[in-house]
């Protein structure tokens, strides 16, 4: 019998991540929109300096659904089933990562669209520094931080018995998930306006390198046995 091509399942994973993590996604988006609106209307330079630093933190919180899909699927034997039917563990991993990226894109995209539209509608300028910070820090930090969180969370979960809490990516999120964006925020604010850009670029570079290292070790850190539910 000829093998039918394996479906990617990415679309289903994304849809499930949105359903399972809808509460966190809504909270992250609403808070992000609120901050975006407030800072857009605030006189001075806080829109350009503060808004890009907050965006990755809130974006990462919005990715909880993707992490939940990973934790629950492993605990409930869904991965075991998929592997038995020929789905490679690598595809499972990249699907969860794809779902996390999609959720980040929704939070960041919506927030940016609303904030920028508001400023244009009010006739306020969009500073060059803001555009540079969004492109050079917010977006790479959002996606890099999300990749780092997702990869570290999946590896961490796969090392332990399936359960909720600290052994799940969700449990790691308060510590590791918001850590890249949070540290970037603290360091950039501490550095002051003159050095903020350097700190931001440095923080983004470190996070992206760490994420790439973890992603490159995927097959070594997460063999198929680690995706199985307890026997």
């Amino acid at each position: 019998m000829a093998s039918a091509p394996l479906p990617s399942l990415l679309g289903t994973t994304i849809r499930r991540a949105f359903i399972v993590g809808r509460v966190n996604l809504v909270i992250a988006t609403v808070v992000s929109l609120l901050w975006g609106t407030i800072l857009s209307l605030t006189p001075g330079s806080s829109f350009a300096s503060l808004f890009p630093l907050l965006l990755p933190i809130l974006g990462t919180i919005g990715t909880v659904g993707a992490m939940l899909v990973f934790t629950n699927d492993r605990a409930k034997g869904v991965f075991e089933y998929l592997i038995a039917y020929g789905v490679p563990p690598h595809r499972i991993f990249t699907n969860v990562l794809g779902a996390a990226f999609t959720m980040i894109a929704v939070v960041d995209g919506l927030t940016l669209a609303v904030a920028l539209s508001l400023r244009v509608a009010l006739g306020l300028a969009i500073p060059i520094a803001f555009t540079a910070a969004i492109l050079g820090y917010s977006l790479p930090m959002s996606f890099g931080g999300s990749a780092l969180t997702a990869a570290a969370g999946m590896f961490w979960t796969s090392l332990s018995s399936p359960r909720q809490g600290m052994n799940s990516p969700l449990g790691l999120l308060p510590l590791l998930g918001v850590a890249p964006g949070g540290l970037g925020f603290i360091l950039a604010e501490a550095a002051g306006p003159a050095d903020q850009a350097y700190v931001e670029v440095g923080a983004v570079s470190i996070v992206i390198v760490l994420a790439l290292v973890l992603l490159s070790l995927e097959s070594r850190l997460m063999p198929r046995e680690r995706l199985l539910s307890p026997a």
């Binding site: 093998s3 289903t12 399972v20 899909v69 034997g77 038995a84 039917y85």
Partner: protein, 300 residues
Amino acid sequence: MRTAPLASSPAPVRSGGTPRISCRGVSSGYLGKRVLEEISFDIEEPAVYVVLGPNGAGKTTLFRTLAGILRPYRGEVLIGGETVDLQGSRDHLHYLSHMDGIPDGLNVREALRFYARVQGAGAEDVERVLSLLDIGSMADRYLSQLSAGQRKRVSIARVFLREREIYLLDEPTANLDPKLSREIRELILNLSREKVVLYSSHNLFEAREIGRYVIAIKAGRLALFDRIENLRGEHFVIGVRVLDPGTPPALADFARQGDYYLRELPGPEAVPALLHELDAQGVRIREVREMNNPLEDLFA
């Protein structure tokens, strides 16, 4: 097919044709830790092969290895004469884990469509199994809204989406009520007329009722591969435990052993008729088990 006698290191069971499943000196486990040691057997004949063994003996590991989820450290598994690999095994076998394996965030129909896509089945197959397993009425309900029995029914429905030569069913009736267990056993029995079904269970009555062969695993080794009829004792006695306090009139002439009402029958095939008769007389049955089942020795 010939069968191997009880032995600490049984020889492979072989027959003339190409075996549907062939385990050749398979050692397997998790992250380098061996759970199965030198397992060898061949399976050719369509039938239910009941896999028995104490907790931790390696039953689930055997299923996972046969399904290609775990790669053997030594030896090889051949399905239809070909080495098992991740892509290939899915065309030959169905695997039902002891976990539900039902994804969150989907309703029953969507979950079955998800499985259907993985198996290369179509939407019409989903509708067919919804009817076959009598779960059409819950098709639009989310899985989180289902009882454990309903979830199990949905889980089992997956293996009927497409026909396969081999069915690996890891405790398919665990935690099910007697009525649903019976329905599932009947489905599996029908299936086994043309297919190879490996079926693990802790229920020895169930094992004797539907199994033709027994594969016993003890401490990771194959302890027995034989026809179940070769293990049967001279007397087949079942014990019935009821829900209601006091002795129901229909059981008045049954012998008693603790909470069980005993009845000797010609064989396991007579059990469904007796249960039907008791049900018709209003007896609410909590549990049915075979008393002094010779398979119990395999758990010792």
